[in-house]
């Protein structure tokens, strides 16, 4: 097999598996001696380097692997992350509002109020830097207490958590009255 063809064959193999291939395995597929295959792989590696291609061929012990040239990581990251622009979904918004107005609050409490599992939402809000762990509650199981971050305050232009508009007891009573009238019974809380 002439040089250029051998190099191309090695390129095809490294491309299609994407993983490291042992020289011995390539030699078997090519029906050629291992040292010729090795020389071919080295020649391919050199070419990728010299021509500044988007890929590189690296040697790992007795195997070769094709990898992406590192200088393009930024572009790959933009390619991979572009469809998932983070947004505050309804679930996140709700959870954020509960944390903001009930802080410090535990996850079971958030879930009791929202009525749904909120693991995912809380984790996301932490990742986004809007919610943080404050410590642990002196309760059985010592659950984590959550609250809003400084970033949250900055974004909403409030100087302190105490500046958050309060939910008035009157309102709570309103809700209760409504629920009662709908059910036609008296609720005793």
């Amino acid at each position: 097999m002439e040089d250029n063809k051998l190099i191309a064959a090695i390129e095809a193999m490294l491309f299609t598996t994407g993983r490291a291939i042992r020289i011995a395995d390539m030699a078997k597929a090519l029906e050629m001696p291992a040292d010729a295959v090795s020389r071919g792989a080295e020649a391919l590696a050199r070419r990728c380097e010299e021509e500044d291609r988007g890929v590189r061929v690296i040697r790992l012990e007795d195997a070769y692997q094709m990898t992406t040239s590192r200088e393009f990581y930024d572009i790959l990251i933009r390619l991979e992350t572009q469809p998932k622009k983070p947004t505050l979904t309804e679930a996140l918004l709700e959870t954020l509002s509960v944390v903001a107005y009930k802080q410090p609050v535990t996850k079971p409490e958030i879930e009791r109020i929202r009525g749904v599992n909120s693991d995912h939402a809380v984790n996301r809000l932490i990742e986004y830097g809007l919610v943080r762990e404050l410590g642990r509650a002196p309760l059985p199981g010592r659950p984590i207490l959550f609250g809003t971050t400084e970033e949250f305050l900055r974004q909403f232009d409030v100087s302190s958590k105490d500046d958050l508009p309060e939910i008035s007891p009157v309102r709570l009573a309103d809700f209760q009255a409504e629920a009662e009238s709908e059910a036609g019974v008296t609720v005793d809380v």
Binding site: E80, A100, A179
Partner: protein, 264 residues
């Protein structure tokens, strides 16, 4: 002893007709309708009658051929321009159209053979690229959300919670949180299906009793059927429900949390 004749397989009545036209080396635009109809009917008589739906397609064409044969015996009809109408014209047009696609299918097959020699590559995006999460700009995230709006959201959540409280029970002095949640049951049933493959509804209930549990578990089963995670069957009315995990179904594709927003 009855002789069984191996019939060549045709892909439908048009395919059979084309086959007969080729075998007789006749012109598709001038089909000897009597000969072809006789041969067509011969073939159909020898066909396996078991598959009625296949058979009926061949019978429709047989009727069409006989109708054409009859029309050929009558004086030719003429169109508006006084040209004689060939009773075979429609059939010829259909045969040509069918033959064209059949021909193209051979062309495609050749291409497929050639294209099979190309190999593709699995995704090998490096983990550091895959795991990368862009830093979120909180200003961007929050957008035009105001504190007032956030407060409204909170009120709505609290209000929903108040609505959820059963007013009758609460008048007895205790407010009990529902002990079985649909979202939890969904995950449980999905995991159970993954682990056991095939099982019955009563197997599922063995773990936990109680009417609420039974109802919520049943709802979970219905939901998972909807998502194609499991299949269920029942051999007799009021019999046990047999559940089978669907192979390859992926529970991860179901976002329980957002789908069951507000469900308790």
């Amino acid at each position: 002893m009855e002789l069984t004749v191996a019939l060549p397989v045709y892909d439908g009545p048009l395919d059979l007709l084309l086959g007969l036209i080729e075998k007789n080396k006749v012109n598709i635009f001038d089909i000897p309708i009597v000969t072809i109809t006789d041969q067509y009917l011969d073939y159909v008589r020898q066909m396996d009658r078991e598959d009625l739906s296949v058979m009926s397609e061949f019978m429709v064409m047989a009727a069409e051929l006989i109708a054409i044969k009859c029309k050929m015996l009558l004086p030719a009809e003429v169109d508006e321009e006084g040209e004689e109408i060939d009773p075979r014209a429609d059939l010829v047009a259909r045969l040509i159209e069918y033959k064209t696609y059949k021909y193209m299918s051979y062309e495609l097959k050749d291409r497929m053979k050639e294209a099979e020699k190309s190999f593709y590559k699995p995704d090998t995006t490096p983990p550091e690229v895959k795991k990368f999460r862009p830093a979120v700009d909180p200003a961007d995230l929050i957008g035009d959300l105001t504190l007032k709006k956030l407060h409204e959201v909170f009120n709505a959540v609290v209000r929903r919670q108040a609505d959820r409280v059963d007013p009758i029970r609460s008048s007895f002095g205790t407010i009990k949180q529902e002990e079985v949640r649909l979202s939890e049951r969904l995950v449980f049933v999905a995991d159970y299906a993954k682990e056991h493959g095939r099982f019955s509804f009563s197997d599922l209930l063995m773990k936990r009793r109680g009417r609420i549990n039974m109802i919520v578990t049943f709802l979970a089963v219905l939901e998972l059927m909807k998502y194609g995670i499991i299949e269920a069957s029942q051999e007799e009315i009021a019999g046990d429900i047999l559940i089978q995990a669907v192979e390859g179904a992926d529970m991860d594709s179901v976002d329980i949390e957002s789908d069951f927003e507000g469900a308790s």
